[in-house]
């Protein structure tokens, strides 16, 4: 699969990464090369093979649904680029 510029623009938008128009050609080439490389998997017969989602045959452990932590707003906000009155601040999202 070779990707065109429009597809790359769409992927970048889905990934929320700004890509300048002049970068699109180069990026489309690079990503297409990678896709050509991974497409060799098509030749492997995987009929009847279940997808492997975990390397260890384990069931996820259950724990009690209780509060074990909290009450630390200063620690939570310590690395915020911008915070006010105990909240993270963001650009206005409702017009």
């Amino acid at each position: 699969m070779s990707l065109d510029k429009a597809t790359v623009r769409n992927i970048a938008n889905l990934a929320r990464i700004e890509v300048k128009d002049e970068e699109l050609d180069h990026l489309a080439g690079e990503l297409s090369n990678i896709l050509h490389f991974v497409e060799q998997l098509a030749e492997v017969n995987t009929d009847g093979v279940l997808p492997m989602t975990s390397v260890a045959a384990m069931t996820l452990p259950m724990r009690k649904d209780v509060i074990t932590d909290g009450g630390q707003p200063e620690a939570v906000l310590a690395n915020a680029p911008e915070a006010e009155d105990g909240f993270f601040t963001v650009p206005k999202v409702v017009e």
Binding site: L41, V49, V76, V93
Partner: protein, 490 residues
């Protein structure tokens, strides 16, 4: 006094216990080495004052008879482990200045064992790379030099390149690494040290900046097999905060170093001898087989038929998981924020400026292979092939106890080489990725020098949670290899 920075951890541990020197003296000697070798760019953040304060406490603990298993031993922490109050960057601009409010389980366990951190070690950005050239904080230089061109700067491998360079240059006695597709083993091979990626689930991933969660695993990097065994014992163990960490007793790994491998069967996979494998690497591998034979083990040819698809499988699964994990870097709660007119605009600008080229590329590939209409063709297909790769190993381990392969297809290469084409760069991990896909333990140890004077590594692969056999065989190979070469100036 003995040269404190050339001791192994096992030696230093015994000498500290005998009172031959103090943790403060040992730490101060290593802080000096860190300063002297700053040109390698192995550290992103140095913490000498914290280290000396911890060393004082260590000496007090020892006086009180309460010394832990790694008490007073100076180590480095890959800058992918969150460390409370100490900047943690993942070598990315997007996390520059981030000071975690908590300690990762693994670095916390090392602290509890008494180990002293000298700071945070450089790596490829978000652990994505095989040469430590994608770090926002600059490339790391390998302390080893080519005989034919001693001025050329070589890469230390990656992604744990700062860890490997610092251990090889005697700046730290050992370091933590993480391994997703070879990130402990390949840099260990390039820098002439030993490192093990334990079985997936052996060490907690809690507090380790995530790259590809079904593959990421922490492990030790040190100068001897015994030192890796000591350190893994302090890192491993069940953690309720990581649902994929396994609730299983941690053995005393050091006890597995019996030196007796008589009767063990060692698998030699025929698919690991591809056309174009360097002659020198093939020779070192053959020599390794001879050492094991001489020690009473039996080499057995095995077949891992899906090996050649491992790289392609990895480069679907790892980017897919990375695109999902790295969605959290949105400029809201921590890290870099680049202002935008709207929320989406802020996300896009922050992520464009915060991520480097390789990370962006992998996020985009991952986003594509997970997107509607392509999921089955790429991601689900890769997960099926992954099962076939894991099955290859399962079948092989029905007839052998351990597998021996080269770690990397070549010795360390020069900075700036091979950066034009990402796929060529990825070939570095061709021997390490299959093990990662199957979640198995893999150890790399130095086995000899190339004709140009650079270290070459061999890899031992074990059954799930059988690090003990891997250590046992590695101990025998280490004795046979007698690798005493050192980089210049240490």
């Amino acid at each position: 006094m003995t040269n404190l920075t050339n001791l192994t951890m096992a030696e230093a541990r015994d000498k500290l216990a005998k009172g031959e020197f103090t943790a403060v003296e040992l730490t101060a000697a290593h802080i000096k080495a860190v300063e002297a070798k700053r040109g390698l760019n192995a550290f992103i953040t140095e913490t000498p004052d914290l280290a000396l304060a911890e060393a004082k406490e260590s000496d007090l603990r020892r006086q009180a008879g309460k010394a832990g298993s790694m008490d007073g031993l100076p180590i480095g922490i890959k800058d992918l482990f969150c460390t409370k109050g100490v900047q943690t960057t993942a070598a990315s601009h997007i996390l520059e200045g981030f000071k975690p409010q908590y300690e990762s389980t693994v670095s916390g366990k090392l602290k509890s064992a008494g180990a002293i951190s000298l700071g945070k070690l450089n790596l490829d950005e978000f652990a994505m790379g095989s040469s430590n050239q994608t770090s926002y904080f600059g490339a790391v230089e390998n302390p080893w030099k080519k005989k034919s061109d001693p001025k050329a700067k070589l890469v230390p491998g990656g992604s744990s390149g700062g860890s490997a360079a610092a251990v090889a240059a005697r700046m730290v006695m050992a370091a933590t690494g993480t391994d997703t597709g070879g990130s402990i083993r390949q840099p260990a091979a390039f820098c002439g040290i030993t490192g093990i990626k334990p079985t997936y689930g052996r060490c907690s991933r809690w507090g380790v900046v995530a790259f590809a969660s079904s593959l990421d695993q922490a492990g030790p990097m040190a100068r001897t097999v015994r030192d890796c065994a000591i350190m893994l014992g302090s890192m491993a163990g069940f953690d309720p905060k990581d649902s994929t960490s396994v609730d299983m007793a941690v053995p005393d790994f050091e006890k597995s170093l019996t030196g007796d491998i008589r009767g063990l069967k060692v698998g030699i996979p025929k698919e690991y001898r591809p056309d174009g494998l360097s002659d020198e690497v093939a020779k070192v591998w053959d020599r390794g087989i001879e050492w094991l034979k001489a020690a009473g083990a039996t080499p057995v040819e095995i077949s891992l038929p899906h090996t050649k698809y491992a790289l392609a499988t990895y480069y679907i699964i790892a980017p897919a998981e990375c695109s999902s994990n790295l969605a959290r870097y949105d400029g809201l709660r921590f890290g870099l924020r680049v202002p935008g007119k709207t929320l989406d605009d802020m996300y896009r600008k922050t992520r464009a400026e915060g991520f480097g080229a390789e990370v962006r590329r992998r996020i985009l590939i991952g986003t594509y292979v997970l997107s509607a209409g392509y999921y089955d063709a790429y991601y689900a297909k890769a997960q099926k092939v992954r099962r076939l790769i894991a099955e290859d190993f399962r079948k092989a381990f029905e007839s052998v106890d351990v597998i021996l392969t080269p770690t990397a297809p070549s010795a360390a290469f020069g900075q700036g080489e091979g950066t034009d084409d990402p796929v060529t760069m990825w070939l570095n991990d061709v021997f390490t990725i299959p093990t990662s896909m199957a979640g198995l333990p893999g150890l790399s140890l130095p086995a000899g020098l190339s004709s140009d004077g650079l270290p070459l590594g061999l890899q031992l692969i074990g059954r799930p949670f059988d690090e003990e056999t891997v250590f046992k065989v590695a101990g025998v190979m280490e004795a046979a290899a007698d690798f005493t070469a050192k980089p210049e100036g240490v």
